[in-house]
Amino acid sequence: MTTGQTVCLLIGTIAVISLLAFILSDTSKLAKVRGNNKIWVKAVFYGVIGGIFGIYATIGGVRVEELGAIITIRDVGPMMAGCLGGPISGLIAGAIAGIHRLFFNLPSVIGGSMTLTESFLSGTTIPCSISTFIIGLLSGLLFKPFSTKKHRGLWALGIGVVMEFFHLFIVFLYFWGTASAAEGWALVSKIIIPFMVTNGAGFGILIYLLDMARKHQDVQEKEKSVETELNVATNIQNNMLPTIFPTFPGRKEFSIDASMTPAKEIGGDFYDFFFVDDDHFAFLIADVSGKGVTAALFMVISKTILKNNILSDMPLAEAVSKSNLQLCDGNKSNMFVTAWVGVLEISTGKLTYVNAGHNPPLIKHGDKQFSYLKNLSGLVLAGSKKSKYRQFSTYLASGDRLFLYTDGVTEAMNIKNEQYNEKRLLDCISRQDISTSATDIIQIVKADVKEFTGEAEQSDDITIIALAMNGVSKNITVKAEIENFDQVSDFLEEELTKHNIPQKIKLKMSIVLDELFSNVAKYSNGEDFSLDVAFPRNRINLRIEYGGELFDATKLKDPDVTLAAKDRPVGGLGIFIVKKTMTSMTYHSENNKNVLTLYKDLEDETVQK
């Protein structure tokens, strides 16, 4: 055999060894067998694999005809089986490979060229068979110590060398016994080096590859478990945020909705809202610097501290200042958090707020357009113990809106590295009309950001809170029939009186109610007529909801008020009077019902007169 052939053979053998390592380490069903609880299944598994490998090596070995010997790495099979599977595996593999070696010349016996005895006695058949079997057993004894070794590849190399030395020693003894020591030495001395080298290297490489593969698998499994833990963390974080909407059933004065979409598994953004007492509702949005676990942990601390301080009985600015001091304490990792905190006094609509370095929210008063609420109270939280915070206030009337967000919205980037920016946000929100609910506006903005960023990956957490004021309203619901008019009329009269509305305006509201009710009674076939009255600052809000055919009464054409008596149509004046009397009247449909939202600014009257 040429050197080239030997090298090729070697490469082929290493390839098979690699395949074996792969089979033994693989991630598929075999792994289940490997990890099987039933010891004997595992033992048989290793034993059979080792045996098959032994057979393969014997057949594929280099036959040295003149010596009647085969240079093979057959013993790697039993060694592997013993060292990895234990004594039983070693025994099985040794037996399979050994018996196969013993009957290796069987084809010649069947062919008639030699007898069975001759085949046993030819060359090294008997000592090789016996030593392969014994090596299987010996390796099995090494199972325990081998399993705990650190560099198992090197150990395997050593084991291979020693085992082959032992193998050839048996061969030597055999020849010494059957022929002479000189003959034995003549044979052994020629094959001992290739035997020790190939088997040592083969077993070493096998174990080395196997351990590499297993290590790789372990890393993967670890990564998977880290991922699982992160998922748990995501859940915990999500559970910390108020997520049940509508959050406060029975509270008709306002509606609030929120959403947080972390860029990674866990985020640094958070929001919160809760009642301080019956009349004070606190809500906040915040963004912790950085991302990942550190940010998430700081988020938990920040949220807890802020809530505790806001709940305690002190002015909002003071609560935020105190939170800042507490967050500064022990903040060795120099984290910080931007926050916008608001407390709404429900009975009056007064909104007190502190902005600690956070993005300016968008606010909408009445018919005015959305605009940014740019007041800044102070530095980010946890930034400096010297930070001072001041509070601001504004009033939220019925229909007013507030939109809070984190920089994940305005700084969302598209693939061209352009930012979504404040202007785009303002444009998007301004396109919505008054009937857009808090929930819808969040979805609309999120969709708009998504449309803008397109394929680009989300780089920062996106958090949004939308608050819509419905006002402190009182409700009456009756069947829309004329005989119920007095009931509704008395209710309104009572509410107007309670809120010290001047007589003149009271009468006007009575007319408005009359027109609305009579129209509904006429067209809605006795379905429910529901009236909500609210009195935000200097304003009277009326909201009426009624069944019947969906019809936008605000679209009715105004009657011609200049016609002579005989040319006047008898109808069409009612809605016209309402329009003229109220400052604003808008229509939308909700749950298949008509909703008219009207308000009267009390200032209108004083300006007119």
């Binding site: 009575s510 007319i511 027109e515 008020v561 006047r568 004046l573």
Partner: protein, 99 residues
């Protein structure tokens, strides 16, 4: 709403008090059908009416058209401020003779 009547010859005075709204307007409408054919002048005194809704306006319009048809005259007397505003708003101040 209450309505009282004062008759002298071919002149009739209707004195209305309260609110002329959806619920009460039919009562006023009924008065229209009771008007004598030979009526020369009708005065509707609404000094004590605090407000009037479009149902009431419709009644007044029907009164006015009836009187115009029979060639009589009609005067609406004693307009409360809020009533006057509604008249002005709807152009009824140009249709009715308000005193």
């Amino acid at each position: 709403m209450e309505i009282s009547k004062k008759e002298s010859g071919n002149d009739l005075i209707l004195i209305v008090s309260g609110s002329i709204n959806t619920a009460t307007a039919p009562l006023l409408e009924k008065e229209l059908s009771l008007l004598p054919k030979e009526l020369k002048s009708l005065t509707i005194d609404i000094t004590d009416v605090d407000y009037i809704s479009s149902s009431g306006l419709r009644d007044l319009l029907n009164f006015q058209n009836y009187i115009d048809e029979i060639g009589g005259t009609m005067i609406v007397k004693g307009c409360h401020e809020s009533v006057r505003e509604v008249f002005e708003m709807t152009g009824f101040d140009t249709i009715l003779t308000i005193e």
